[in-house]
Amino acid sequence: MAIFVDNDSKIVIQGITGREASMVTRHTLAYGTKIVAGVTPGKESQNVEGVPVFDTLKHACQKWELNTSVIYVPPAFAYDAVMEAIGNEIKLILIITERIPRHDVARFLLAAERANCTIVGPNSVGIINPGDRVKLGPIGGDNVERCFIPGEVGVISRSGGQTAECSWMVKRAGFGVSTSVSIGGDPLIGSTPKKNLNMFEQDSKTKAVVLWGEPGTTYEEDAADFIKEGGFTKPLVAYIAGRFVENMPEGTVFGHAAAIIEGDMGRPSSKMEKLRDAGCYVADNFNDIVPLLQEAMAK
């Protein structure tokens, strides 16, 4: 078991013929994940690393049964690509594209919610379930095992790079991951930490979760409330980056677009306090994740 992806994932990549998407297709196939089809308008009957390309998702869906899409199209076309996926009844949409206009994101997130479709991202590097060797997106690159080995720890991260880094810390602590999810660094995202915790709670394979948080938004606060309400009962090890931002003038953005402190909202120190208050293992230093996770897993 895992969350989001497994051997039943029937994967299509929208925008598969792009330079980056082609490379990721190669890495993904090499890892052992099957990609059923790709979509790029005007390129039907071509193939990328042996994966057939269709002009429309509709064509691809007529030929194959598909339930999972990876969006790799440029920002200006991302809205339509996501709506195309929703319109063709794709149930999980992972959006890699960065810098999609915010109004577009809000629109497709609401459309997806109404269609009962799950969106991860935008600005995600992917999702991986190492137990089944299924990965979506660039996550893990060409050397997946460096960071992602099968195990019983879930990873949720607002940073793509730190999804890998946190999973690597899990490995250094002597464990592996059930699923690692890069949720995206944007202010509006489809799959918040709270939603992921809810899924990890149901997942029998996951024993504990590591969460990478950042300044801005109320994602970590919402997660802490969810834990306090009893929605998530497994151990959670959390690290919140960007404490220096609190000492900068208000409204300054470092790192991801969502990492903005406004008034009392979004302060790392208050996020840490809330998570501690909810009974989480909060790491003061990133290096502390290893001993804290060992302690959490021993319980």
Partner: protein, 402 residues
């Protein structure tokens, strides 16, 4: 994200049917006097800077006569308001206000929907009122697919106690403000105060507007009016920061690098990943390091972009060391980054023997990256240490060297 100056925001309001006071923009004291005479007293003189809360910073003042206008202009021009030097003033007709309303639209990140906030108690203490959740404030989410109906705006103001002609005017204004929010890809619009005059007219006295940088490609009317990246900074962009934006844009669209100058410091900071760079900066400070800038890169940048940015990082006066740490890369080719960094050092004549450098760069093709750094005499680490470990090594090196 990009902030819009008040004069541009007001032009947008006027163009879209929201009444504003007559105003002129001036750059010196004489002009201020002429403008004030032309508009007619009393006038308001405001510092034209991209920030709110100017009233609290005494950057908004009233003048009753030409002499007073000159005196006030002199007092505000060339001062600094929340880190922004005042180079321009906005001279505007003072509105004979009976009472003040408030309205804003922004995105709520938890609900992921636009949220309209309206209040019958506008003015400078609005933030307090928002917090206390008084009955004078209404917050309403908008179904972004359906849009914001006129009747919703009417319900809001009616529930806040407005009636008669004021209700009708306020309704149209709030509805039009939502149209502006949509049309210009704003991430935030705020009219505060929205003044009701003694004659019962409603006028937008002040507007705060932020445009989504990522949508500027489809906002041709705005692209030369807003400064990209201005909302990432707490002060005007420095020359070096502007130069770095050009370097970032020049070398193909691939890969991004953002550069922010910090006050003081002696370590050139070039770190990878939105999250990794936050971690690296926190760690460097904790171990006593003093970063002179904050550069964050990612998304597999080409060699020329990397070398251009690194040269910029090193060019800030007072740099005595270089710290580079990234998360384990998922797609960034570390060998390409390594070549760019080494090229920058060579072109800047930096001798790694005498200049403390620590690199922690694990990820795609890192065996090649390691070779490139070691051949150039640069201390390299891969995934044998964490970003925090690397920061500690860097801070200790600086202590020894300085």
């Amino acid at each position: 994200m990009a902030r819009v100056l008040e004069n541009i925001g007001k032009e947008i309001l006027r163009k879209n049917g929201i009444p504003i006071p007559d105003f002129l923009v001036v750059g010196d004291i004489k002009e201020a006097r002429i403008a004030a005479d032309k508009i007619g007293y009393p006038v308001v003189i405001k510092a034209l800077v991209p920030t709110g809360k100017r009233g609290k910073a005494t950057a908004i003042k009233f003048a009753e006569s030409s002499e007073e206008a000159e005196k006030i202009a002199e007092g505000i021009l060339h001062t600094t308001v929340y880190h922004f030097p005042v180079e321009l003033l906005l001279v505007e007709k003072k509105i004979d206000t009976s009472y003040e309303l408030y309205s804003s639209i922004t995105f709520d990140t938890s609900r992921r929907l636009p949220i309209v906030i309206a209040s019958s108690a506008g003015g400078i203490d609005i933030e307090k009122s928002v917090k206390t959740q008084s009955k004078k404030i209404i917050k309403q989410y908008v179904d972004i697919l359906e849009g914001f109906h006129l009747y919703k705006a009417k319900e809001i103001w009616s529930d806040l106690g407005l009636t008669g002609r004021t209700l009708q005017q306020a309704t149209t204004i709030l509805w039009r403000l939502y149209k502006i929010f949509e049309k210009y890809d704003a991430y935030t619009v705020e009219i505060n105060p929205l003044a009701v005059t003694s004659r019962g007219e409603i006028v937008a006295v002040s507007i705060l507007m932020g445009i989504d940088d990522d949508a500027l490609f489809r906002q041709p009317d705005l692209s030369d009016k807003v400064e990209e990246g201005s909302d990432r900074s707490w002060r005007p962009l420095t020359d070096l920061e502007k130069k770095m934006i050009t370097v970032d844009k020049q070398e193909s669209y691939r890969g991004t690098a953002r550069y922010t100058e910090m006050e003081g410091g002696n370590i050139g900071f070039f770190c990878g990943g939105g999250g990794g760079s936050l971690l690296a900066y926190d760690a460097l400070l904790r171990f006593g390091g003093r970063p002179a800038n904050y550069t964050e890169f990612g998304g597999n940048p080409p060699e020329a972009k990397v070398s251009g940015i690194v040269k910029g990082v090193l060019s800030k006066p007072g740099i005595k060391g270089f710290f580079m740490a990234t998360s384990i890369t998922n797609n960034t080719q570390t060998d390409v980054v390594a070549s760019g960094v080494v090229k920058a050092f060579q072109e800047m004549n930096v001798d790694p023997e005498k200049f403390p450098i620590v690199v922690r760069l694990p990820g795609v093709n890192d065996a090649v990256a390691k070779r490139i750094f070691i051949e150039a005499g640069i201390e390299y680490y891969g995934d044998e240490i964490t970003i925090e470990d690397a920061a500690q090594i860097m801070a200790e090196k600086m202590k020894k060297a300085c």
